[in-house]
């Protein structure tokens, strides 16, 4: 059955994953279309990796239905995996081999001819900026280099669908920007991307559409802009007072904002007009140590939906 371009690349209904009594993924529905960049945003333990591994045909479903490329992972795992690229949360590079050999043998796992692999390996080494390290062992590479190699490796079979589980966690800002650029280029080439992340800037930069996951469920879904419009206000006023005062002061600010979040180090006032709210704060005789007016971000959506911050 050839898959229809209009058909979703991933189609999930009531998807569940249980480990004994623990419910890691609790009946989620989602679809990812061809060429889309789709994100799972969520705190630790939300079930992002568990969902990802089911899509990668690495983990049997505990319930629900799943179709990938129009195929059933329980029956057609081999066919699906041959068209998929996976960047797992933890690098699984072959430490006994060199950088180039890692690409080579991975290509062989996909049954690619040696000649094809050699050509692609050269391109991928350039893509990952690892050409100079091609004949070095993998072990001593830096974390960022290993991550780039893992991504390059996932591309050896020219996948239609690339799954990236926290592609940039642990990387320095420069390495992250380099990776975003690489992923953006892949998207331009028509590769469908599914990624999980803790970083709202990553989600905003890369994802056309995303779901916020919490405790195994999908708390909200939409484009980054839609999510912000639906779940947050236009502006946010951030106020810092002395340590330990925030809880008590929040009560005195009642009525100034649609919603107030009390964080250990500051207060967040969700408002339409930040300057107006700041003026109101001053009128009530409060003198914050610092005040900042900014636009709402996905972080605010996240805080609202899960009661937690993305990165602690």
């Amino acid at each position: 059955m050839p898959s229809d371009p209009a058909e979703p690349l991933i189609w999930a209904r009531g998807l569940c994953k249980r480990f004994g009594d623990l419910v890691a993924v609790d009946g989620i529905d989602f679809e990812v279309g061809r060429g889309e960049a789709f994100g799972f945003l969520g705190p630790n333990g939300a079930g992002k990796s568990s969902a990802m591994r089911m899509v990668a045909c690495l983990s049997p479903l505990s319930g629900g239905s799943l179709r990938i490329l129009g195929l059933d992972p329980a029956r057609d795992g081999v066919r699906i995996r041959s068209r998929l690229g996976l960047v797992p949360q933890d690098d699984t590079l072959d430490l006994e081999l060199t950088v180039r050999e890692n690409l080579y043998i991975y290509g062989r796992y996909f049954d690619l001819p040696r000649k094809v692999i050699r050509e692609r390996a050269d391109q991928l080494l350039a893509f990952a900026q690892l050409t100079e390290r091609a004949d070095d062992k993998v072990e001593p590479l830096s974390g960022g280099m290993k991550r780039r190699l893992t991504i390059a490796r996932a591309l050896i079979n020219e996948p239609e669908l690339l799954l990236l589980d926290e592609p940039t966690t642990g990387l320095d800002p420069q390495a992250r920007h380099l990776l975003w650029d690489r992923l953006w280029r892949l998207k331009q080439q028509g590769v469908t991307l599914v990624l999980t992340t803790h970083y709202m800037d990553e989600a905003e930069q890369l994802c056309d559409r995303l779901v916020v996951m919490d405790k195994g469920r999908i708390a909200a879904e939409g484009t980054p802009r839609q999510l912000i419009e639906q779940w947050s206000t236009k502006e946010v006023l951030e106020l810092r007072f002395g340590p330990g005062e925030h809880e008590a002061l929040a009560a005195k600010l009642g009525g100034l904002a649609e919603r107030i979040e009390v964080l250990p180090d500051r207060l967040l006032l969700y408002v339409e007009d930040g300057d107006e709210a700041l003026a109101g704060t001053h009128r009530r005789g409060l003198r914050p140590d610092s005040a900042l007016v900014r636009r709402s971000t996905l972080e605010d959506v996240f805080l609202r939906l899960t009661g937690r911050r993305l990165v602690d």
Partner: protein
């Protein structure tokens, strides 16, 4: 919103054998990828491979030749009188086929499974768990076959080969390797730490010493003979010795069957257990 046909998310249990066996028969090409990977790694450490030749040779020289001087001759499987060296050499070949396979299938596989995490990456490709099991077992067999061939050559040079049946010793050594590699890998899939490997030693050493390796089965009292005949290495030793001395009877088929069943069962358990461990 699109719809999809009803799916059963897990195949029914009864199809397990069907799931394990056909890929085991058809999966040769993909299993070969694991062999290719190991070749890449060992290309640089061939010296480790070469060292495997020496262990059985040392045994042959010390026990076969050294102790053979003291013992002189013994009665072979066909009732004929043969030198002690010629009696022990086939048993050492069978034992080394077992030892090599067990070593590869336990220590090496455990390291790859738990520490190097080789298979976590492999299984994200079209290569499946049965391919992994078959591939790693094949690798152990390829290595083992080279060792056995060299050993057989040494035996021939020392005049310890007494029959043309000995040509079949190599395939039999592969069969012994298969049986022990498959069961060894299955056992490895249950191990939690390196401590558990003491049990491997605990199982292998008595097999090596008591499988009618160093003296004929008839040395044992009848009750013990039965027990020895139930253990696997005995069948390997008896088979290789029969071929080497030319005393081949229909009993050889029992030995072959025993080892083949052991290997297939080990393979089935291994693929299932790898699935449990890695595809969760």
């Amino acid at each position: 919103m699109s719809t999809a046909p009803q799916v059963t998310t897990r195949p029914p249990r009864g199809t397990l054998v069907a799931r394990v066996l056909p890929p085991a028969l058809l999966g040769g090409r993909r299993a070969g990828r694991l062999v290719e990977r190991n070749l890449l790694v060992y290309r640089r450490t061939w010296i480790v491979i070469a060292s495997g030749f020496f262990e059985p040779l040392f045994y042959l020289l010390s026990i076969g030749v050294g102790i053979g001087k003291l013992v002189g001759t013994v009665t072979g499987p066909g009732g004929q009188v043969i030198s002690y060296t010629a009696f022990v050499a086939p048993a050492l070949l069978a034992s080394s086929a077992m030892n090599g396979a067990i070593y590869d299938a336990t220590f090496n596989i455990f390291h790859k499974l738990k520490f190097a995490k080789i298979y976590d990456a492999v299984l994200a490709t079209p290569v499946g768990v049965t391919d992994v099991a078959l591939g790693e077992i094949s690798w152990a067999l390829i290595r083992g076959t080279i060792y056995s061939a060299v050993f057989l050559l040494v035996m021939a040079v020392l005049g310890l080969v007494g029959s043309v049946w000995a040509l079949l010793v190599l395939p039999v050594a592969v069969l012994i390797g298969f049986a022990f590699a498959a069961v060894g890998m299955a056992a490895t899939s249950y191990m939690r730490s390196w401590q558990d490997f003491d049990f491997v030693q605990l199982a292998v050493l008595p097999l090596f010493l008591f499988s009618a390796t160093f003296y004929p089965l008839t040395t044992y009292p009848p009750a013990l003979q039965v027990i020895v005949q139930l253990t696997p290495l005995y069948h390997g030793v008896a088979l290789v010795r029969a071929l080497d001395t030319g005393a081949v009877g229909p009993g050889a088929l029992v030995h072959v069957l025993y080892l083949a069943v052991m290997g297939v069962a080990g393979l089935a358990v291994t693929s299932r257990r790898l699935g449990h461990l890695l595809l969760r």
